[in-house]
């Protein structure tokens, strides 16, 4: 029982399909909203870290360092239990969204910071000399130029965020990993380890792999566009 080639084990998994789908749905919901939060936090703190106001730089630095140097499991427990015991229980999916958003937001901030830092000073000066404010310069001139630089590390974070939904297990989540684990260890459902974990892995792969591919092809397209422009330039010269 539980073997990869046991028809009985697979039929058990099939019987539990709604459970897996629920887990998948929760993981997707947590991840997608978590990504939005991480992007928003990353942009805000990345800009704070890059900006000229020292107080904001310090705040951004503290956030980034603190989050990056403590385990996400701890952060998740803290958000879930600290709030639950203070009588403000927010539920597991919101906990996941907030915890993953804050955790990956710290890394996204570094991604934005590095992207902005790679743009030549002359671009900031050109925008400033036309009368653009700092935020307008970012929006119209700087950030659009960072896209092809920040895209690969950003998708990397998105994929990691998907995988890190598994940390919700620590607070008894209903995400894909937690559901799989309770299935294989459950008193009534238990057993079918190999098929269940294999299915779980395949589902994660199906979520993450297309994202990686999408990022690669987007990056290639931008590079091709640049190459084409460079070729035109070489011909004109």
């Amino acid at each position: 029982m539980g073997g990869l080639f046991s028809a009985y084990a697979w039929s058990k998994v099939w019987g539990f399909r709604m459970g897996f789908l629920t887990g998948l749905g929760n993981t997707l919901l947590t991840a997608l909203l978590g990504i939005l939060l991480a992007l928003a936090l990353g942009l805000v703190f990345g800009l704070m870290e890059t900006g000229r106001i020292r107080g904001l730089r310090v705040i951004a630095g503290i956030y980034i360092e603190f989050i990056q140097n403590t385990p996400i499991l701890l952060q998740m427990c803290f958000i879930y239990y600290a709030l639950a015991f203070s009588g403000h229980s927010i539920g597991i999916v919101p906990t996941g969204i907030i915890a993953l958003g804050i955790y990956h937001g710290a890394y996204m901030a570094e991604v934005f910071h590095a992207g902005i830092g790679s743009i030549p000073k002359g671009q900031f000066e050109a925008a400033q000399s036309q009368g653009f404010t700092y935020m307008e310069s970012m929006r119209y001139v700087i950030l659009p130029q960072t896209i092809k630089i920040i895209l690969p590390p950003m998708v990397n974070q998105v994929v990691n965020l998907f995988k890190n939904t598994s940390c919700l297990y620590i607070v008894g989540g209903m995400d894909l990993i937690s559901v799989t684990y309770s299935f294989v260890t459950g008193e009534k459902t238990g057993g079918a380890y190999s098929p269940a974990y294999l299915l779980c892995g395949v589902l994660f792969f199906l979520m993450c792999y297309p994202l990686s591919r999408l990022a690669t092809s987007w990056e290639m397209r931008l590079k091709r566009k640049e190459m084409a422009a460079a070729v035109t330039a070489a011909k004109a010269a």
């Binding site: 400033q128 659009p144 460079a230 004109a236």
Partner: protein, 245 residues
């Protein structure tokens, strides 16, 4: 209304321990074509960069059109009054030439797309590059990029244009096409031009007044005629002797 476009009073600028500008006093009249010359490291670029607050003076005052420039009002003053052309062109590489020209008019001056593009094509004609409207800056030579940068400065219709060594980064064979555009521009009476350059021929041809800087100070100023025939300071004579052969 004052007839002074730019006024610098006792402007000092330090970068850390490096004292770059020392008590600079300078007035530029409306419509005047002022050329700043001097050896490298003399503070010429810093002087023009203080005029549009790309560098904030450590002390002293900068007034534009009679209005004292401050941290608070500098955006508005820049938007309405001052454009800049850089040594490295600094066109926006992610935008086509046309969009480089229409970005500020549309986003900052509230001008409609149609109107902004009409103006852009007009100034592309002025710099002779209408056929490059839809290409990206990377596809242009240095001289062409700088002519586009000049068109970009013209599109916002500011009365003052600052040029910070506009030909210093160019291949020798493209310098002239940029200078030609600037000479034509200098014929416009209502544009105030401040040009930092090493092109003495250009200075002689278009300057109403030349300022010579050295070691963060203005050493001498006067008409081109005065400068190129009988400058007072031996330092200016020596400099011109080296640069004009």
């Amino acid at each position: 209304m004052s007839d002074i476009a730019i006024k610098m009073e006792m402007v000092n600028k330090s970068f850390g321990d490096l004292h770059v500008l020392k008590d600079v006093n300078l007035e530029v009249k409306k419509g005047e074509k002022l050329v700043i010359i001097g050896p490298s490291g003399s503070g010429k670029s810093t002087t023009v960069r203080c005029m549009n607050f790309l560098e904030k003076p450590t002390s002293g005052k900068v007034s534009i059109d009679g209005e004292l420039m401050t941290e608070k009002n500098c955006r508005r003053i820049i938007r309405e009054k001052i454009s800049m052309v850089f040594q490295q062109f600094n066109l926006y590489p992610h935008l086509t030439v046309l969009k480089n020209l229409t970005l500020a008019p549309m986003k900052l001056h509230g001008i409609s797309k149609g109107q902004a593009e009409e103006t852009a094509y007009h100034y592309l004609d002025v710099v002779g590059l209408r056929d490059k409207a839809d290409v990206y800056p990377i596809a242009l030579s240095g001289g062409q990029q700088q002519r586009i940068a000049i068109a970009r400065a013209l599109c916002v219709k500011t009365p003052i244009i600052l040029f910070d060594e506009p030909t210093s980064a160019l291949d020798p064979e493209t310098i002239q096409e940029v200078l030609d555009v600037m000479v034509r521009l200098a014929k416009e009476d209502n544009i105030t031009m401040v040009v930092v350059t090493h092109e003495m021929g250009f200075a002689k041809q278009v300057a109403d007044r030349i300022v010579f800087m050295e070691d963060g100070r203005i050493i001498e100023e006067g008409t081109p005629e005065h400068f190129f025939t009988h400058p007072d300071s031996p330092r200016v004579q020596e400099f011109l002797g080296k640069i004009i052969r």
